[in-house]
Symmetry: D2
Subunit: 323 residues, 4 copies
């Protein structure tokens, strides 16, 4: 059991959704992707799952939304599973960068021999293109299948969001051609973009994110089904990336004030992995959990405005930080 009695957890989550709903006004829905821009910005939902398989859901949790950048963490894991961590880390670095997720500046200035990390667009496009499969379709299906194995049910593409992003992704095309020039991309630019934009458009629920978060928290092991999905080594690097680069350019602040490995997307989703924890002084311990959040009004950094504030409150109250 995570922290306390089942009914108390449920109550708390409901109260915290109420407490934090208002923070949605600090953000807006992602206007540069028309299909996301039209969402109701006032929504806020959270779903938590513990290692016994108990789900606690509060707020707007019926809604499905697209993975967007959350998919970057999942592609990294899926690819590392297939080819091994070493293969992946030879092709993408794991260093945070202070520049925007879609910036070309660090490439031009530093001419690195690989993208800085898999959570900026440059790194994400690079590794999506490396997914196993002879065609873009096969590569995409590999990832989709991997995710379906994690969540335990079929997943679908949001065609409207895909179309919307495909039309409006000039900046990603610019980045991808830059990657091609730098010889980081082995396949055609349009094919790489297609895979990347498709992975961003996969629909999930907060429940799905909670479950994947739980598996990451438990180092690749699903404590409910007892299935081992990926190695501890991969899970650890994924958590490092979630801490250092998971929340765009406010990853440092999120780590300092929330302290939970997490990855957000501009759809307003956040996937958080709460590892089991030992208290440094009392030696008391508590079990781990996975959390999925949805709050489509995003702040200037690209993170769910209300979702981030809610996670901050939860982490403080329940001492969920890994630090």
């Amino acid at each position: 059991m995570l922290v306390q009695s089942t009914s108390r957890i449920q109550e708390q989550l409901e109260a915290w959704v109420e407490d934090n709903k208002g923070h949605a006004v600090l953000g807006t829905t992602a206007q540069y992707i028309p299909a996301l821009g039209k969402e109701d910005p006032s929504q806020l939902g959270i779903c938590m799952v513990d290692d016994d398989g108990n789900y606690y859901c509060a707020g707007d949790t019926d809604k499905e939304f697209t993975l967007q950048s959350i998919s970057k963490a999942l592609t990294f894991i899926a690819l590392s599973c297939h080819y091994g961590l070493e293969f992946v880390l030879e092709r993408v670095d794991v260093e945070p960068t202070g520049e925007a997720f879609n910036s070309i500046i660090p490439f031009e200035i530093h001419r690195p021999n690989k993208p800085f990390n898999p959570f900026i667009n440059a790194g994400a496009i690079t590794i999506s293109a490396l997914l196993p499969g002879q065609t873009g379709q096969k590569k995409y299906e590999f990832l989709l299948h991997f995710l379906e194995e994690l969540v335990g049910h079929p997943l679908e593409l949001d065609k409207e969001v895909y179309d919307s992003e495909w039309q409006s992704s000039h900046r990603n095309r610019a980045l991808a051609y830059y990657l091609k020039e730098a010889k980081f991309l082995e396949i055609e630019v349009e094919e790489a973009l297609d895979i990347y934009i498709r992975q961003c458009a996969i629909k999930v629920s907060t429940r799905d994110l909670a479950l994947i978060g739980l598996i990451i928290a438990y180092d690749g092991f699903n404590p409910i089904t007892k299935v081992k999905h990926f190695s501890e080594e991969i899970a650890q690097v994924a958590k490092v990336l979630m801490v250092t680069c998971g929340m765009y350019n406010s990853s440092g602040n999120f780590a300092a004030h929330v302290g939970i490995p997490a990855k957000s997307g501009v759809s307003g989703g956040i996937m958080a992995a709460v590892p089991p924890k030992l208290h440094s002084q009392t030696y008391e311990f508590r079990a781990g959990a996975g959390i999925g959040v949805y709050g489509p009004a995003i702040d200037v950094q690209g993170n769910s405005a209300a979702g981030t504030m809610m996670l901050r409150q939860i982490s403080k109250e329940w001492d969920l930080s890994i630090f």
Copy 2:
């Protein structure tokens, strides 16, 4: 007890020093500070202390060396103790940056309203200038006294290193005048630099670093003396900074491959904080520790070349990663 029998720990550390000594050839002593440049680059030493107060030292651990950038973590903690975290975080951010520790580029491009983090020189000089005290001398003494309380014995300045850095710190002067222009510095530039360069020149041993690392690992609490030096909240942010920015521009790689909150300096020192840990699947737990490393041959990023490799091996073997 940390991991295993006392004698076994000692043996292991000695073996690992031998294993990793050779990696010193991948670095050189810091040539841009003449007093550091002349050190014997082949040295390598490690000291570990556990929560019972047992010290295990192997290799070149007699040597004292200067804190250099390790002092950035300590000033951050000392200042936060005095004025509170909120005061400090209003004046310096906690976001990692992909640029060099002494870069002016991010300031000119982004014109942030505070330095990116306290571990780049800009942030470090900014917060050193904020130390309590009416004069530079008082400010420096505040920090020195704070550190002496932590290590339990008097500390001294390495006058030769101080002089050497004072003469050669044109780049830091450039940065500091830039900070003055941006109104981040409330005191005179020369005074701020004097404090900063003095804190960098404080002499410590690996034993000292190990003990401070232990206190950070135990969230501000010294498990040996049972003294509480600073709050859990401050320790947590310090650990976040050590993970995201502690090892210059290879912080991400260090987090991925070592996973221990750590801060390095160009003198070749590394201070590492190993928190107590609960295994996510076995629910076994082990106590925390502090580690001090000295290996003056530093790599291109500025970290002890052999020291980093040795910590990687130790972390793998003993599973010390927090991730």
Copy 3:
């Protein structure tokens, strides 16, 4: 007549070709465009035409080569002729930049409301896309026809060079998508690139470049045919651009040491416009001229290595600088 007796001019040019041929070893043919890379780098040719229509040609002047970046000056003139200078200057600035011709950095840093100038690729692609015509084909034909009017004979595309550039222009695609994102491009990226790459692949001779240079030197007026091709106002801005940005990142040095408005291309061509000149102290005057140079070994900045040195010598000897 330009400077002296006809036979003396011819003799001199031949001597200077010999003098400067050896400088070709300071450059190499443009390796990133395979069809250019295979040219014989030792070639050097020059053709000069005076206001009476006398042509003086020396060295390798039989060869046709592609316009490459020289076309940027011509598109600027053609577009300004059709829509007026004001229309064009609202859409592209005329400020030099110290960054590379294909850099994205200044856009990301400064977010200008138009490209810095029409001689960097960003500005060139932007204005090529604005050429009159409903389709890319029409736009290209407009430019081609304009150039044919200037040189007085049909011009052709080098299909091999076009194909070679179309395949390898990832960096230009990156730039163009960036322009699209910034809303500088009104037509489709692929269409804009097609026009741009076609204009770069138009084949000319040093004789053609000399004649166009003469017309620019005479402010849009062809002193041989007495035809006025474009306004003095347009010619003046073209000459300003040639002086401030015409020779890539060594435009300043070229202006200081040669002082002739000129535009170069990575094919090794240089088009130079030598205006009539009044000596400031003797009040003697000499007529203007046009010069075309071909020397396919280009230096690190992208200018014909031998051609630049030859122009430096000619300008010094005959006092051709406008300064």
Copy 4:
């Protein structure tokens, strides 16, 4: 004689001052230098001198003001006179840059082996430090004497402006320490800054600027006194720099719309050199002139707002562009 009858010139200048006075509202006095900030921003004055020594002055021309960045052109000339152009061009480049006059970005990105040009602060401080003389005082006096020779009367320092700039030049100190680090500065930073800030604080009148402009226009020769002050070669490079970098980041626009080699300062002064000119089609010629302008309200680029507009009008009306 320049253009037309003496009384007509005087009349015209007076009319143009009236026409352009209102443009002062597009700028403000330089607020970051308190002693400049308090000037009356509505002032506008112009003084023109022709090769016969006739002066035509209109508007606020009684006022003396400080050279500021105009001094950069004069130090370049003075230094080149003493050591030769080659010596100077080995230590400072002549390439325009799109970055701000006080930017550190291009240095960090490109690590050039010399400053980009002598008209950005980095280049200006570098060459001021090279002035002949064993002490800062001697170096400054060398320049002062050189200028007094040009204008034919003693010049003075504005002590208040000097003090004001000395106090507030954190950014220049940052730059200068950066230059020291890069080994571009052979003397002490504080000494170099002292010379630089003193040269900026030398008081001149529009009459003085007009006369120096005339001498530059006549390639170092004073057509009134018949004294040769510096070589044609030096004058030519000075004019190249004035065209490519003389008007801060709107040098390109000034060249396109005004076309007169000029150097401005944040005091609101502009020194313009109008070379004799031959019309390319009529072969008519007119004599050269020098122009001094004062209008302390400066635009965002740092140029006199009304002064720039007035020069644009004058150049158009009298065809003064060198292009």
